[in-house]
Amino acid sequence: MPFVNFATREINCKIVYYGPGLSGKTTNIKWIYDHIKPENKGEMITLATETERTLFFDFVPIEVSNVKGFKVRFHLYTTPGQIIYQASRKLILKGVDGIVFVADSQEERHDANLDTLDDMIENLEDYDIKIENIPLVFQYNKRDLPNVLPVEVLRRDLNRWNRPDFEAVASKGFGVLETFKEITRQVLKKLKK
């Protein structure tokens, strides 16, 4: 649910990076955080285990102003991909305005992609959100690895709604910005309606 304050001229939107464990969600928003100008970002929060697996969520607040002095705040969150954290994933989706589904392109992770997508759809339904109606982007990550599935297969199995999708190597920053720009574009467009 976006929040607009006419007095301070601010709009807040929540974007969630969802996907199976180790698919690169944290890597995506960490890269964004590291490349944003200091004046456009707040503090990044990482709630992770000692082995750097996301335990609850990561959070990056981003601010952008337009010429007329309106400020848009994007709050980026990642979910914890590991199966055991199902309950936490659902909590983070509360009030979501846009979703980036980060899939792991490796063949052996494809079942995990599919299961996580099902889990996401179910969680959205619990909040009365239909996947058809929410801004959504797919990212096929880890394209640098040898055992990846062809993009056509990933697209057919995951992107059943024909949403914009991108190949990525998040650890090198490839595809990260394109994905982020597309989801923000969709969220802003929906806001305008």
Partner: protein
């Protein structure tokens, strides 16, 4: 639904939060929504921490505790308290969707005072939030003068 605040509502909210902060001697009083967005805060210029990040963590904290209390069979969680050596953080749910947070110095005040002062303003705050919701539901909320197209994301990056 998209929540939005009109300038006069923003002012009234700030006034209530500032009264609670002043009377309870809190360092700051914040109003956030359960998805983690900061809605308003008291006029507390001395509070320097990043309030946006603070809001997101508080919402996470309350969400996790609510889920825990559900798991234990309790219907709802109304309030919670965390403390560090010097500071207390008191959180109370307002109108089911919002969280009021007081951060206070334990030498200047105490949990009892905080709770009494919040209680004094609770109904007014809840009434105001419900009024805002009802109004927001009725009218489209995108300001006419905001042009989404001229938000340039390229300027964000170095």
């Amino acid at each position: 639904m998209m929540l939005n605040l009109r300038p006069e509502e923003d002012k009234e909210l700030r006034e209530i939060l500032t009264s609670i902060a002043d009377e309870s001697k809190s360092k700051i009083v914040l109003l956030i929504d359960k998805s983690g967005q900061l809605i308003s805060r008291s006029e507390s210029p001395a509070f320097s921490s990043d309030d946006v990040t603070f809001a997101s963590l508080t919402a996470g904290n309350v969400a996790a505790s609510e889920a825990l209390s559900k798991l234990l069979g309790d219907k709802s969680l109304n309030h919670m308290f965390t403390e560090t050596e010097d500071e207390g953080i008191y959180m109370i749910v307002i109108a089911e969707k919002y969280i009021l947070v007081s951060i206070f110095d334990k030498v200047s005040t105490n949990l009892g005072i905080i709770r009494v002062k919040i209680k004094k303003y609770y109904d007014r705050l809840e009434g105001l939030m419900k009024r805002i919701e009802e109004r927001a539901e009725k009218e489209s909320s995108m300001p006419a003068d905001i042009n989404i197209e001229d938000i340039d994301l390229d300027t964000l990056f170095e």
